[in-house]
Symmetry: C2
Subunit: 384 residues, 2 copies
C-alpha cells in the first residue's frame, strides 16, 4: 500500500444557506479544495451524505456532484453512515489512493438540511437510530444522548456544569473561526438557562441544523511535494460499527465503535493517545465530547468532565479538542462534518489557523460518529 497525503482542503461559511442548493454548496467547497491543492482535475470522488433523499428528495448525488463540478464521467461514489458519512468518504478515498487504483481523489461531504422544517429534519435524523426499536417509540437524538448523559452523571458524578463547559469552550473556539455557523461566545449560565430539549440537555448543549459542505484532495505522499502547499500525511485510519440501538449495548457511558476505530487508527500510526497534539471529535451534544474523549483514550473513564473543567481540552491545554468550534459552534451538516474535521486538522498542521492556532500542531486526530455511536471513523494526520 502507498502512503497517502492530503494536499488541499476547502469549506465555506456554514449556516442556513437558503439561497443555495445542495449541488451549489458542494461545488463551492470542492472548488476551494481544488484551488488549495492546485490540481486541474480529479481522478475519482467520494461524497459523504447522510440523507439527500429525506432532506432534498434527491438520491444519486455522486453523479450529480461530479457533473456539476465539471468532472463528468469520473468514478464518483456516495457513501452513507449517518453522521459519520464524511469521515467514511475520507477513509474510502484514502484506500483508493493507497491501493494504487487512482492518484488524485477527492473526499467530500455535504448536507442540505434547511429545505425541510425543523421537525422534519429531526425525524430525518432519527433514521440514524434504530427505527424498528427506537424511532417507533418516538426516540430522537437529543433523547438518546440525554440518556447517555444521565448514565454518565450517575456513574461518574459528571456535573451539569461540566457538560455546559464543553459548549462554552467550543463556542470560544468557534468565535475565532470565520466559517463557523454560530460565532458568539457563551457562558455556563447561558447554557444552563437555555431552553430544555431533553433533560439534562438544553438547546445550547446541542449541535445545530446546518447547510454546508467540505472537501479534501488526497494523493500518494510521494507526489505531494509537487502541489501548492505540500502534503499532510494520513498515518492512521480506523472504522468500526456497533448496534445503532442504544439499548442493545452493554454500557451507555462509553462508545465502543469509537474505541475500536481509534484502536485501529492508533495501531496503524504506531502512536498512543498521549502523542496526539490536537483532535476534532464528534460533539453532536456536549455529553458526546466527554464520552468520546474517554472512549478514544484521551482520559480515563469518568475523567472527561473534570478534564474539560480543568482546561485540558482548551487551545493551550494538554490535548486541545475541537479548536474549530466543533459541531456545536461550527455547525453540523451531518454528511460534511467528518470532512470538515480533516479541513481543520490540515490547516492546523500547516499552521494556518490564526487566532485558534495550536502551537507545534504536528499530529492531529479526527473522530467522526454516526447516530448514537452505531459507527465511528477515526483518522490520524501528521505533518510531512
Amino acid at each position: 500500500m502507498r502512503d497517502v497525503a492530503v494536499i488541499g482542503v476547502g469549506m465555506q461559511k456554514w449556516g442556513e444557506l437558503w439561497e443555495k442548493s445542495l449541488r451549489d454548496i458542494y461545488v463551492e467547497a470542492a472548488l476551494l479544495a481544488i484551488d488549495d491543492a492546485g490540481v486541474d482535475h480529479i481522478d475519482s470522488m467520494y461524497v459523504g451524505c447522510m440523507s439527500s433523499g429525506l432532506f432534498t428528495y434527491q438520491e444519486h448525488i455522486g453523479s450529480v456532484l461530479a457533473d456539476y463540478l465539471g468532472q463528468r464521467f469520473i468514478p464518483s461514489t456516495r457513501v452513507e453512515s449517518a453522521c459519520a458519512a464524511g469521515g467514511l468518504a475520507f477513509r474510502l478515498a484514502y484506500i483508493e489512493v493507497a491501493s494504487g487504483v487512482s492518484d488524485i481523489v477527492m473526499a467530500g461531504g455535504v448536507e442540505k438540511m434547511t429545505d425541510v422544517s425543523g421537525s422534519e429534519a429531526t425525524n430525518a435524523l432519527a433514521t440514524a437510530a434504530d427505527v424498528d426499536w427506537e424511532g417507533v417509540h418516538g426516540a430522537t437524538f437529543p433523547g438518546l444522548y440525554a440518556m447517555m448523559a444521565v448514565a454518565h452523571m450517575h456513574r461518574y458524578k459528571t456535573t451539569r456544569e461540566q457538560l455546559a463547559m464543553v459548549a462554552v469552550k467550543n463556542h470560544r473556539n468557534g468565535a475565532k473561526n470565520p466559517r463557523a455557523q454560530f460565532r458568539m461566545e457563551i457562558d455556563v449560565e447561558a447554557v444552563i438557562n437555555s431552553v430544555k430539549v431533553a433533560d439534562p440537555l438544553n438547546i445550547l448543549d446541542c449541535s445545530p441544523i446546518t447547510d454546508g459542505a467540505a472537501a479534501a484532495v488526497l494523493v500518494p505522499a510521494e507526489m505531494a511535494g509537487k502541489f501548492n502547499k505540500g502534503g499532510v500525511k494520513v498515518i492512521g485510519s480506523g472504522h468500526a460499527t456497533d448496534t445503532i440501538a442504544l439499548h442493545a449495548r452493554e454500557d451507555l457511558t462509553t462508545i465502543r465503535a469509537a474505541t475500536e476505530a481509534a484502536k485501529r487508527a492508533y495501531e496503524m500510526a504506531g502512536l498512543k493517545p498521549e502523542q496526539i497534539d490536537l483532535a476534532e471529535v464528534h460533539d453532536c451534544f456536549t455529553i458526546a465530547e466527554i464520552v468520546v474523549n474517554e472512549s478514544i483514550g484521551f482520559f480515563e473513564p469518568g475523567q472527561g468532565g473534570p478534564a474539560v473543567e480543568a482546561g485540558a481540552t482548551d487551545i493551550g491545554g494538554s490535548i486541545p479538542v475541537n479548536c474549530s468550534g466543533g459541531l456545536k459552534s461550527k455547525g453540523h451538516p451531518v454528511g460534511a462534518t467528518g470532512v470538515a474535521q480533516i479541513v481543520e486538522l490540515v490547516e492546523q498542521i500547516r499552521g494556518e489557523s490564526g487566532p485558534r492556532q495550536v502551537e507545534n500542531a504536528r499530529v492531529g486526530l479526527a473522530q467522526n460518529m454516526g447516530g448514537s455511536g452505531g459507527s465511528s471513523v477515526v483518522h490520524i494526520l501528521e505533518g510531512m
Copy 2:
C-alpha cells in the same frame, strides 16, 4: 495491488417479501454467501442500497446489517449510486481486498421496496433522476426510458417487436431460475398487448418492484483455494458517471457511462467485447438492454434490436445476455441488482446453473446502471 477472487455468493428467491424486513432479507442472502464460501467471519462489508430512507425510513444500515449478521464492530459501509449501488459495493469490496486493507470482504446489496405503495415507490425511484430538472416536470423512469426508446426506434428503425423480444428472452431464462420473481414465459404478443405505461413501453417492458438481497464474499486470489468452492477471479472493474439528467446528454441512443465503465474494465482485463462468454446487463426496461449491449461493444450502434431478433443474446447465442432472467424476470430490488449479477456470473462460471447453464462459460461481464445511465459499474470475472 493483489488479485482478487469471489469465493461465495448468495441470494434468496426474490419477490414481494412482506413477511420479512430489510434486515431479515439482507441477513438471509449474506448467510447463504457465507455458507457458500465456507468462511466463519468477514473482516469488512459494503452494502449497496439506493434508498432505505425513502423506502423504509431507516438510514445507517451499514451498521444495522453488520450487527444483525453477527459481525458487530466490523467496518461496514453503505454505498449509493441509485440502481448501480450493488455493483458499486462490489467494486469497493474489490478495491479493499486488492489494496491489502482487508482479506475477507463481503459485497452485499439490498432493497425493501414493497413497504410503500406503488406510487410512493415510483416517486422514490424518481430521486435517481434529476429532481430539479426532471422530477419537477413529473418525469419518472418509464417516461425517461420511453424517450430513449423513441429516439432509438427513430434513428435505427428498432422495432416494437424487438423491444418485446428482450422481455420474451429474459422471461424464458428467468422461468429456469428458481430465485426469479416472475417465472412465467411470455410471448411478443403478450408484451405488445400488455397495459401501456409510457409509449412505446408497456408493463411487460418494465422491470418490477421487488424485495430482495444478494451477497458475495471476496478474498485475495491466492487464498481462494482454501475455501469450499475455490474462486472466480475479478479481472476487470470499471466505474463511470454521467449527467443524471437525460436532456443534458448529447445522444439519447447510447449510454456513455456504460461505455466508459466498460472501456475501463476491458482495459484492465486486457480483453475485447467479443472475448466475453456471457453477460448480465441492466435491463430495467427492454430498451435498456438493447442500448447497453451497443454501448458496451457487444453490437454496433443500431444492431442491438436485430441481434435480439436473431437470437444472438439467447443462451446458446454468440453472447448470451441475462441468463438469470435479468431485472425483467428475476426482479429488481434496486440496491441488490448489481450484486445479483455477480451471483449469476459466479454460478455460471462454476457450472452450477442447471437448465440455464451456458456451455464453456469462462469469462463473464456484469453491467449495472444507475437511473437513466447517470452511473454505471462494469465487472469482468474469469474462472481460475
